[in-house]
Amino acid sequence: MEILNYTEDHLKFRERIRSFFEKEVTPHVDEWEKSGITPKSIWKRIGQEGFLCTSVPKEFGGMGGDFLYSVIVSEELVQTSHTGLAAPLHSDVVVPYITSFGSEELKKKYLPLCVSGDMISAIAMTEPNAGSDLASIQTTAVEDGDDVVINGQKTFISNGINCDLLIIAARDPSTSDAYSGMDLYVVEAGTKGFEKSKKLSKMGWQSQDTAELTFTDCRIPKENRLGYKGGGFLMLMEKLQQERLMVCIGAVAGAERMLQDTLRVCGEKVDFGKPVTKLHNNRFKIVEMAAEVRLGRVFLDKLVADHIEGKSIVVDVSMAKFWTTEMAMRVADQCLELHGSYGYCEDNRMARAWRDMRVLSIFAGTNEIMKGIAVKFMGL
């Protein structure tokens, strides 16, 4: 009995996206890693093919697909050997805020463009002095007549340079309570006072245009607020569950791929007169890794099933986020060692995977924060 019930349609979708990525993404990845960004044209291409925002309802241009389509897109992206094309962030993390909390006008205006890839989205929570402590953000949103004026600075924002549409978390300085004073707003790129101030240089995710954003008297219509006034923090708490689940998918699918690559490369590479995978020290190591990866897969699929059923996954996804990401980093480290000095060279996929994996335990809530959430919900 399978944990996840993929239908014929899902499988066809997977086939289609796999061959599309092989032809139109993978061959360009090295170039994108060098330039530190993905071209907007590829976003439009994947939008045209119907691979973006698969969960957006049909009335807003989407396919109204279930969460398994999101899983498929994420898993197939892992096969392209890079992380810069953060389509899952756009489709399954940012856009759902609009789908769930946006007014009819906002949905009509933006969702079709997000589905088509004409608009790339990002979400800005983290600030230079507010990371793990999300409630302490200092960016302000002050109502002024029919407008809201935003001031502040955000950092480590994925899709920061490419984004056409940004969801920003800001606080109303007239409300002293940090939680009920927080709101989410939609801001279009190009709005006066919204500056993409700096593209950040990172250890990995080099084709991802992570950026620092600055807001100076940035004026937007009041109608751009998502949901009811003061509801921002709760919206984040709700949607962060799926964001963390997306990270788990990247971790497990990434670990599976690294292990496959290692078995292939090290099955051919000879040392001490034998293929590296046949050396006795290495064989147990490989079996141990395979067991960990399998555990991660079972845990993940069960979580995906629970999430689709609408069960609360707060505790489980927090545990899965720290466990699967730490597992993926262990696997990356050991796979690289099996590759030997060759693995240390950038002309194979392993070196990049090792660099890319390191951030999984940090973003979408650090693993320490994940443990803290589990502690709280377990009543410890």
Binding site: A130, D133, F156, S201, M203, L336, E337, G340, W354, R358
Partner: protein, 379 residues
């Protein structure tokens, strides 16, 4: 049993620390790492101040100090910056083999040259993989001399080093029969091949070197014909100690940065250093640094006391210290959060460099199996 450094050792450590703190410019470090450039200015200055080759005898341009002194300097340099520290440590790679087995003439030619900052030495030994028992690069007898044919992978500073030590298979001898030669990089038939960009150790260019009918004379041989394999095995011990010292320095440097950040960074209204999970992490990090440090000093001291049978200490030192470097740098990134993943946070650079130690010369799992063999009595 005295675990304290001597006054002289403590003075060297202090001088190296002051030099590193004063001269290793963080902006230049980021640039060198990004552009994959050797830190020439620092290297030159370090040589002028006598920090390179301290363990060479005075007659060969050194200060007649011990391997432990040399290890202390490597540690301190790596603590300030992993990239510069490794570049310094690898500038004279192979010198200990020459010291032990070179002729007086060979030593006079090369060692003062290294200590005075006139150039570099490299050792070409690895081919594909870590197996050192049989090489495909072979020296064929040719009259009174030899002709060398073959290819070596992952040769550090190959494009820069004027002197190349080569360990290759000796013709028509058994598998362990190898010879060592000292060549100059201008020798006809030596060609370099790039290996592309590397994950870390980016200030140290590494190339593959092919030898196309390279003609050498009997005078170019280091030590005796057919003894190269034992020279190499013996050389790996000081090399492991040096790599171990680099590991201790990288681990300590990553820890220093994590502690400093944890004290400054406030979340939830308090410095994060006050939170138990961060304190526990810092405690784990210190445990690893200290375990590695004392293992490396023990191994260095064992070699200084000329206990050649004790290569288990050198293996243990490299294995534990390279693991410590990797794990501590990994944790240091975590303590830094998102900032740790950014280039300007600097700790990611320590982490990438640390991973090289785990693969350099031999991997951690090879070391474990060598140790197992020694314990079981096979080698």
């Amino acid at each position: 049993m005295d675990f304290n450094l001597t006054k002289e050792q403590a003075d060297i450590q202090k001088a190296a620390r002051e030099f590193a703190r004063g001269e290793f410019d963080p902006d230049r470090i980021l640039e060198w790492d990004r552009k994959q450039e050797f830190p020439f200015s620092i290297w030159k200055r370090a040589c002028d101040l006598g920090f390179q080759g301290v363990h060479f005898p005075e007659t060969y341009g050194g200060q007649g100090l011990e391997l432990l002194d040399h290890a202390l300097i490597i540690e301190v340099f790596c603590r300030q910056d992993s990239g510069i520290g490794l570049a310094m440590a690898l500038s004279d790679f192979g010198a200990e083999m020459l010291l032990a087995h070179g002729t007086d003439e060979q030593k006079r030619k090369v060692l003062p040259f290294l200590a005075q900052g006139k150039g570099w030495l490299t050792l070409a030994f690895l081919e594909e993989g870590y197996d050192l028992s049989t090489f495909q690069t072979i020296s064929h007898k040719n009259g009174n001399g030899y002709v060398i044919q073959g290819k070596k992978s992952y040769v550090t500073l190959a494009g820069m080093a004027q002197h190349v030590l080569l360990v290759c298979q000796a013709e028509s001898n058994g598998p362990e029969e190898q010879s060592a030669f000292l060549l100059t990089k201008d020798a006809k038939g030596i060609e370099l091949e790039g290996i592309g960009e590397k994950l870390g150790m980016r200030m140290i260019p590494v190339q593959a070197v092919s030898f196309q009918r390279v003609v050498v004379t009997g005078q170019d041989m280091v030590g005796q014909e057919g003894k190269g394999s034992s020279y190499l095995r013996e050389f790996l011990n000081p090399a492991r100690v040096e790599a171990g010292a680099a590991g201790v320095g990288i681990a300590q440097g990553a820890f220093d940065r994590a502690l400093d950040y944890a004290r400054k960074r406030e979340q939830f209204g308090k410095a994060i250093v006050t939170f138990d999970p961060i304190k526990n992490k810092l405690a784990d990090m210190v445990t690893r640094v200290e375990m590695a440090r004392w293992m490396v000093y023990r191994a260095a001291s064992s070699l200084d006391q000329k206990r050649p049978a004790e290569d288990r200490w050198a293996i243990l030192a490299k294995m534990i210290a390279s693991k410590a470097a990797l794990e501590v740098a990994h944790d240091a990134i975590q303590v830094h959060g998102g900032y740790g993943y950014m280039t300007e946070g600097q700790v990611e650079h320590f982490y990438r460099d640390a991973k090289a130690l785990d693969l350099f010369m031999e991997s951690g799992s090879i070391e474990k199996s060598m140790l197992g063999d020694r314990i079981a009595g096979r080698a």
